[in-house]
Symmetry: C2
DNA sequence: TGCCGGGTTTGCGCTGGCGCAACCTTTCTG
DNA sequence: CAGAAAGGTTGCGCCAGCGCAAACCCGGCA
């Protein structure tokens, strides 16, 4: 958005199908879902493109159809934290429409992506007219709240190693493609991303990931991380250095 | 709840007024608010009483009318974290009704309290029938999400000192009674509570709070903390050890 | 009044994990 | 295909802040 290289389309066949699979329209009759899809704008963005900026007035709600988005928050002191990675089928930037009205974080594509979005007016109207949509939104936000609260607790009580393991497991759950016992995380991750997700810094994260690769617990294949032994990872996440 | 010493009432004059002031019914006509109040059950609980337990099936949504409630999460490894303190006028335990259906934390009164609650059936019906209530819920949950995300970032990037300062400022904002330039936090706080709120342990928290009391930044008056110099506290929260 | 128990303070030692700096590898670009 | 830029690795030193344990304070109760 606001990027010279972006392409804009109205919903096509495939994108309509993707939108109808969103949690947002779960439990709704197909014609309503189709209506929701018809209101969406589709942006085709290259990797590294900004979608919205922290502090900007919230004017649209977004969903990733293809690709991935990084949601990064930056504090008044300049310190950054990666709040979440968004995988296809997930929404982002929606909460700000219902609260104070400013996006609380930056959003940028982590790879070439197709992004659906709705104007604030349309989105609020949908919410007002369909209790089911409202409830779906509450469910989505609630899910994220639970997730963030868990991370908060882990942050306070667990070691960096455990938190990194948890972060990877979360990503697998979020966007894991199983293949021959291993799970590929279909989101491009830099060391720095993993570190910030786990609430640590580049150096410890790099060390640990490298060590895990050496042991065969992890592998890299064209920008993506592959978890070769999820159970072992789970054991690390739970028990520490067992 | 499930406690021998609890007393149960149907809404009285005062409690109805308190319920009508809840964020839940913001922007609704008085008769609807009154209807919401009429559906509520009121529990009068002593301090230290359990309201619900982590992992239990979520059957009611709650609000504090008088008193205070501690929301504490305990991890599979036994480590505890204090997710939030609930002050009068705030709701808790509502999200679980819309997600997987289990309370994600323990709730217990931190002092003698009046607790309003609604059955899941009533609460869902209210949400289905009034888009405004649904939107209010989204707003409340969204607010909390933003709050928790901020804490998460602080946790990752700031020192224990800064986090404790932030925790106190949050509590002041949440339940501060101004009196002659100082703010009393009207929630009983043990050292341990402050520590867990800030994501650290008893020892550092005790040291810091004691030091701040020595300097006159804080004071204690009958179980409550009083912030004598909020600006200085704010400076500590921002800049570190300036 | 003296005892008891939960909460709090504090001296001391220790270590997890952070930060720097230098170097290496891969990807992008002209 | 060469050069640049961005990302990743790693040896080393260091310190914030955690944990223990022992003492202390204070309110409730007999």
């Amino acid at each position: 958005m606001g990027h010279g290289m972006s392409e804009q389309k109205t919903p096509s066949q495939n994108t309509v199908r993707a939108i109808c699979a969103l949690g947002l329209v779960k439990g709704l009759p197909p014609e309503v879902a189709a209506h929701v899809a018809s209101l969406a704008r589709i942006d085709v963005l290259p990797g590294g493109a900004g979608v919205f900026t922290q502090g900007a007035v919230a004017q649209r709600a977004y969903a990733v159809l293809v690709g991935a988005v990084r949601i990064r928050q930056i504090g008044s002191d300049g310190a950054q934290a990666l709040m979440r990675m968004i995988a296809p089928g997930e929404m982002f930037g929606t909460v700000a429409l219902f609260t104070e009205g400013y996006y609380p974080a930056d959003a940028e594509t982590a790879m070439p992506s197709h992004i659906a979005s709705w104007s604030k007016a349309d989105f609020m109207a949908l919410t007002m007219n369909s209790p089911q949509i409202a409830i779906n939104i509450i469910g989505m936000v609630g899910q994220r709240l639970a997730n963030v609260q868990n991370r908060l607790r882990e942050m306070a009580t667990q070691s960096a190693e455990q938190r990194i393991a948890h972060a990877l497991l979360m990503l697998v759950e979020q966007s894991g493609a199983v293949q021959a016992g291993a799970c590929e995380i279909c989101i491009p991750l830099r060391r720095r991303d993993v570190a910030e997700l786990a609430g640590t810094t580049l150096y410890p994260a790099s060390r640990l990931l490298a060590a895990w690769e050496k042991v065969g617990l992890l592998a890299r294949s064209r920008q993506m991380l592959v978890v070769r032994d999820a159970n072992k990872l789970r054991r690390i996440a739970q028990g520490g250095l067992l």
